[in-house]
């Protein structure tokens, strides 16, 4: 009995994770039955076969979700049902105003659930801060659950976040919105729709599959070419290696230690850990979606690419096109464009701007912040009226796109986690993107003057206040300033000299590559800096998590800007040589040219199957060495 209970029952301690043996045993069993359904003509044929496959995978996915999240399966089932019904109503009433009501109702239900589970603590804290009240969250669902089960079965004092809710809620919203816009036909069969919402490879961590990309696949017969099979296996191995070697190994051996207690480590170690964290976040997340993509592909389903070597980006805007692409596209389609994109600013823009202003003021307690926020908004409004009358279309476009994308970034930040640091994170990303766009439009004289002025100002701040944060910014600005000077001089030499370029074609190529490397380096540094605010301990209650996240960021800045110690760098590099080697290897692989990567992927997919079995086994044994590797002992260099 206990055996079956442990196999079939929900245990919060042992979810089905891609990196564990149990998931692969589960997958092998699932696949065995899947193969039977797909290949035996006696079981079903034609459309019937597809239908059977979809239903089978739906129940498998639900079982998977139950193993991961227990009774939260009911929430998943509920949103599936509600959005399926509402999308049907929308279609039935298309062209009528009531369709909009159904759409709103669907969005309210979906976002309401998300807000309840994800943002209840956030809003409770906000209200308590505002009015000095002492409200605590109360879990309505647990309360109802207790009515059915024995009393006290579920705790009503805490609200647990159902796994993957952020992902599947966004998926169902995309479906209903696409039906409303007439881009897809509503799914007739609720089981098929359920399958789209809960397909297990991407259920808990994406990619966020939009309805129009996935639903047509439900009705297509199974197709997996030999090459696609090889590539699917490659993605799975690639994902496992990323997750276990690049992410978990680095996390356990350096990153967690430093983030946990930045003051124990010198500035250099803190900076190293921060950069390593950038790699870890990428490797962890993209590794997981690589596996999801590979697993789905083996079953004949094609999920969208989610990461396209994001640290190759040359500017923050490009980064967001390469990082968590499915979320980026979702936000663009369902938030940025409805807000007005680069075409207009309307009620949505003003509403969200006011809300961001209000939340910022409430959380910091600096109510005066409302004044600059409001002044800015009034300024935008007035300028917009004036610009419309003067037909300054280009400037208006620039303003609209910047403002709307800033709002999108902040809300995107909030999607990642319901806390203050994620808002800061989103805000910094938004500002970074805008600043970079403006920078690109400046001519070289202005760039040089701006950068010189900024660097000088930060150096003065550093000299006057002697605070680590100013030291950090001053050094960073000085590095960018040096790069700017060099590029400025180069520009001065070559600007009117087309002949020089013609004669020095080789040099021209080299300087272009250098310029690209510089841009990539700066973007990577900026994104890494934003990571200071990206980390939040999930094992703490949200208020404490906020406090700890803020203290961690502050202490890390203090160490990087204040406790730098060159003398210990060689010792650190030597003692942590394996960790450093892994980080460097990770970055080098990341930066390999895309066509190299494609080539070795294709080469792998073309090897004979027996050889592939051997390669896979060897790779898994190698990966296992990292799972079981002894931990790097603690060594302190900073006192």
């Amino acid at each position: 009995m206990t055996f079956w209970q442990s196999i079939l029952g929900f245990n919060a301690e042992s979810p089905l994770l891609f990196t564990q043996f149990y998931f692969w045993a589960f997958f092998a069993l699932v696949y065995a039955l899947f193969a039977l359904i797909m290949s035996s003509p006696r079981i079903a044929n034609g459309r019937q076969k597809l239908h059977l496959r979809n239903v089978y995978l739906l129940f498998v996915s639900w079982f998977f979700y139950y193993k991961t999240s227990g009774l939260f399966l009911l929430i998943l089932a509920f949103v599936t049902l509600s959005d399926w019904i509402l999308a049907g109503r929308i279609k039935a009433n298309s062209q009528k105003p009531i369709a909009k009501v159904f759409l709103c109702l669907s969005v309210v239900i979906d976002l309401g659930l998300l807000a309840y589970f994800k943002y209840a603590y956030f809003f409770t804290n906000l209200i308590n801060d505002l009015f000095g009240t002492g409200f605590r969250v109360f879990d309505v669902f647990a309360y109802i659950g207790n009515g059915f089960a024995e009393a006290g079965r579920f705790s009503v004092d805490t609200i647990v976040l159902p796994v993957g809710i952020s992902f599947y809620i966004f998926q169902v919203i995309s479906y209903t919105a696409d039906v409303f816009r007439g881009r897809i036909q509503p799914v007739k069969n609720i089981l098929d729709f359920g399958f789209y919402v809960s397909f297990f490879p991407q259920l808990v961590a994406g990619p966020i599959v939009r309805a129009e990309e996935f639903i047509p696949q439900l009705y297509k017969p199974f197709r997996l070419s030999r090459r696609a099979f090889g590539i699917a296996v490659f993605w799975i191995l690639n994902g496992l290696a990323k997750k276990i070697i690049m992410s978990d190994f680095l996390a356990v051996n350096i990153i967690d230690r430093v983030f946990n207690n930045p003051l124990l480590f010198s500035g250099f170690e803190n900076l190293f850990a921060l950069f390593a964290y950038s790699l870890q976040v990428y490797a962890d997340f993209s590794g997981y979606t690589d596996i999801a993509i590979g697993v789905a592909m083996l079953m004949g389903f094609y999920l969208p690419m989610n990461f396209n070597s994001p640290y190759k980006s040359q500017n923050p805007q490009e980064f967001w096109r390469r990082w968590h692409m499915s979320l980026g596209r979702w936000l663009k389609t369902y938030l940025y464009i409805p807000l007005g994109g680069n075409r207009r600013i309307g009620f949505g823009t003003y509403f969200w701007w006011s809300l961001i202003a209000f939340v910022s003021a409430a959380l910091t307690g600096w109510w005066w912040l409302l004044i600059p926020f409001a002044a800015f908004m009034v300024g935008v409004f007035v300028w917009n009226k004036w610009a419309s009358s003067k037909a300054k279309v280009e400037s208006q476009k620039l303003l609209y796109s910047n403002l709307n994308s800033f709002i999108t970034q902040v809300l995107g930040g909030l999607w990642h986690g319901a806390s203050w640091n994620f808002i800061i994170w989103g805000g910094i990303n938004g500002i970074g993107m805008i600043v970079e766009k403006i920078w690109r439009k400046m001519n070289w004289h202005v760039r040089m003057a701006t950068m010189s002025g900024l660097t000088l100002m930060l150096c003065i701040f550093d000299a006057v206040w002697q605070l680590p944060v100013w030291r950090l910014f001053a050094v960073w600005a000085a590095i960018i300033w040096i790069g700017t000077v060099i590029r400025y001089i180069y520009w001065l030499i070559t600007k009117d000299n087309g002949k020089w370029k013609m004669e020095n074609g080789k040099w021209e190529n080299i300087t272009q590559s250098l310029s690209k490397a510089w841009a990539i380096g700066q973007t990577f540094a900026f994104i890494t800096f934003t990571r200071l605010f990206f980390r939040s301990s999930s094992n703490l209650d949200p208020a404490t998590a906020n406090e700890v996240a803020w203290a961690t960021a502050k202490n890390m800045v203090n160490q990087i800007g204040g406790a730098w110690n060159n003398a210990i760098i060689p010792d650190f590099l030597w003692e942590y040589r394996w960790v450093v080697a892994m980080f460097v290897a990770g970055m080098v692989i990341h930066w390999l040219p895309t066509n190299w990567k494609r080539r070795y992927r294709l080469a792998f997919s073309a090897i004979p199957l027996w050889l592939m079995v051997i390669v896979v086994c060897v790779a898994i044994v190698v990966i296992y060495q990292f799972v079981s590797a002894e931990m790097q002992p603690f060594i302190y260099f900073q006192f």
Partner: protein, 442 residues
């Protein structure tokens, strides 16, 4: 490709890996490194440590013993021999709080004069962790104010005290302040003589002739009402001059500064003295005269030593651990000679975990070190608080980490965990005083 071929592929991979489970474990090494691979039994054995934190915040009556190595099973593939961890015989029936007698006897005098507690420890007590709760509990009971000793340049901020440092009128980073020396620091920070002072660290103002005289301003602002103080103290060479104004201490001249202190004229003062990365084997390197003078003149009645954690991760052999524990015994003896009239309390290491084969587990030598420390402290007449047993023994750190009481590194407490532990130590001491057992001769 047809699904059945894909299935065949999956089955082949699993079969090969399964076969490796039978063939590989303990059999293959490349370049001297063993290639690790689990046995079938390890693959199917679910690891669900069922651990809860000690509900009563007291140390269990039957402490956990180090695990005896299992007898090798003749059928199982040969694995490297497990390290044999010797059993430690300790008389657990004696309540070690008996050895806090001198401290308990002195506490009632705290209404008239200072009774000082010096809390030495490793990074587990940095930022005033644990000391803060011990201080709060003792001061609320017996009076006393202030955070006690702090270094001239506080490089590690604490929860209770915020310091800003100015040199010759300019704000400086503490690392760029007067040159610091530490008995537990890297070689460059060590002194030729042994004059480190009671904190094991000191700063020298105007260390080189080139730098000329230095004027230092240390603005030390208590971070809560609980650490308000009524007087400043400076422990320094007589060549150092000083003055105070509010929360600011002004120092000028040339010479050594061993510490500043915010305190009161009576009551209990608890000094938090963290020694990062230190195993506790450094006290004998500090000048005995300096230590004994401080302990005597400042009426130090309790010395808390909290070490051991730094010995665990880098040592795999019980013999090394036992050598370190006997080294600690020599340190205890040295402290006893310097403070013959004070009680000593030793706080052992907490549970500490590491990642092995993808699972967190307690370092195998923690229980052994804990028991051995208890044994030698009993022999030396020193009270012992087993943080490890109090947390719940082996594997308790896994739960602490999950509950957010300890950090992701599986070693250091979060503030919430430190608060819990500090309060437990304080309550254990006070409870021992009240039950009066210490008055009865053993």
């Amino acid at each position: 490709m047809k699904p059945e071929r894909v299935l065949l592929f999956i089955v082949c991979v699993m079969a090969v890996l399964g076969a490796l489970c039978i063939v590989l474990p303990g059999q293959l090494s490349i370049g001297g490194k063993e290639v690790r691979w689990p046995t079938l039994a390890e693959v199917f054995e679910k690891k669900h440590p069922d651990i809860s934190i000690q509900p009563s915040d007291t140390i269990p009556e039957t402490p956990e013993e180090p695990e005896e190595p299992e007898q090798p099973d003749t059928v199982v593939v040969e694995k490297p021999k497990p390290v044999v961890i010797p059993k430690v015989e300790v008389n657990d029936s004696i309540d070690s709080r008996y050895f806090l007698r001198a401290f308990y006897e002195a506490l009632p005098q705290a209404s008239e004069r200072v009774v000082r507690v010096v809390h030495y420890g490793d990074s587990q007590i940095e930022e005033d962790r644990m000391s803060q709760q011990i201080r709060e509990q003792l001061q609320s009971r017996f009076g006393g104010q202030g955070v006690g000793l702090m270094p001239l340049a506080q490089t590690i901020p604490t929860v209770t005290m915020k310091q800003e440092l100015y040199m010759n009128g300019r704000r400086v980073n503490p690392n760029a302040g007067p040159r610091r020396y530490m008995v537990y620091g890297i070689r460059d920070m060590q002194r030729r003589d042994s004059h480190y002072g009671v904190m094991g660290q000191m700063a020298v103002m105007a260390d080189s002739l080139v730098r000329g005289s230095e004027a230092v301003q240390a603005v030390c602002v208590p971070q809560s009402e609980k650490v308000h103080y009524s007087r400043w103290r400076v422990f320094a060479d007589s060549t150092i001059h000083y003055d105070f104004s509010g929360d600011t201490a002004y120092l000028w001249g040339r010479g050594a500064v061993y510490g500043l202190s915010q305190e009161s004229a009576n009551g209990v003062i608890v000094d938090n003295i963290p020694m990062r990365g230190c195993m506790g084997l450094v006290f004998t390197k500090i000048d005995a005269m300096q230590l004994s003078t401080f302990y005597r003149e400042e009426n130090v009645k309790l010395i808390i030593m909290q070490f051991g954690g730094n010995a665990i991760p880098s040592n795999e052999k019980p013999t090394t651990i036992s050598a370190i524990v006997y080294g600690l015994r020599d340190q205890i003896r040295y402290i006893k000679r310097c403070a013959p009239n004070a009680s000593i309390l030793f706080i052992g290491p907490s549970d500490m975990i590491r990642m092995t084969d993808g699972e967190w587990e307690t370092y195998p030598l923690v229980p052994y070190m804990d028991r051995l420390l208890k044994k030698i402290t009993m022999e030396e007449g020193v009270a012992y608080f087993s943080l490890f047993q109090w947390m719940g023994g082996s594997g308790s750190m896994i739960r602490w980490r999950e509950l957010g009481l300890a950090g992701e590194d599986g070693v250091h407490f979060h503030r919430s965990g430190a608060r819990k532990a500090g309060n437990a130590v304080a309550e254990w001491m006070l409870e021992g005083m009240e039950n009066g057992q210490w008055k009865i001769e053993n």
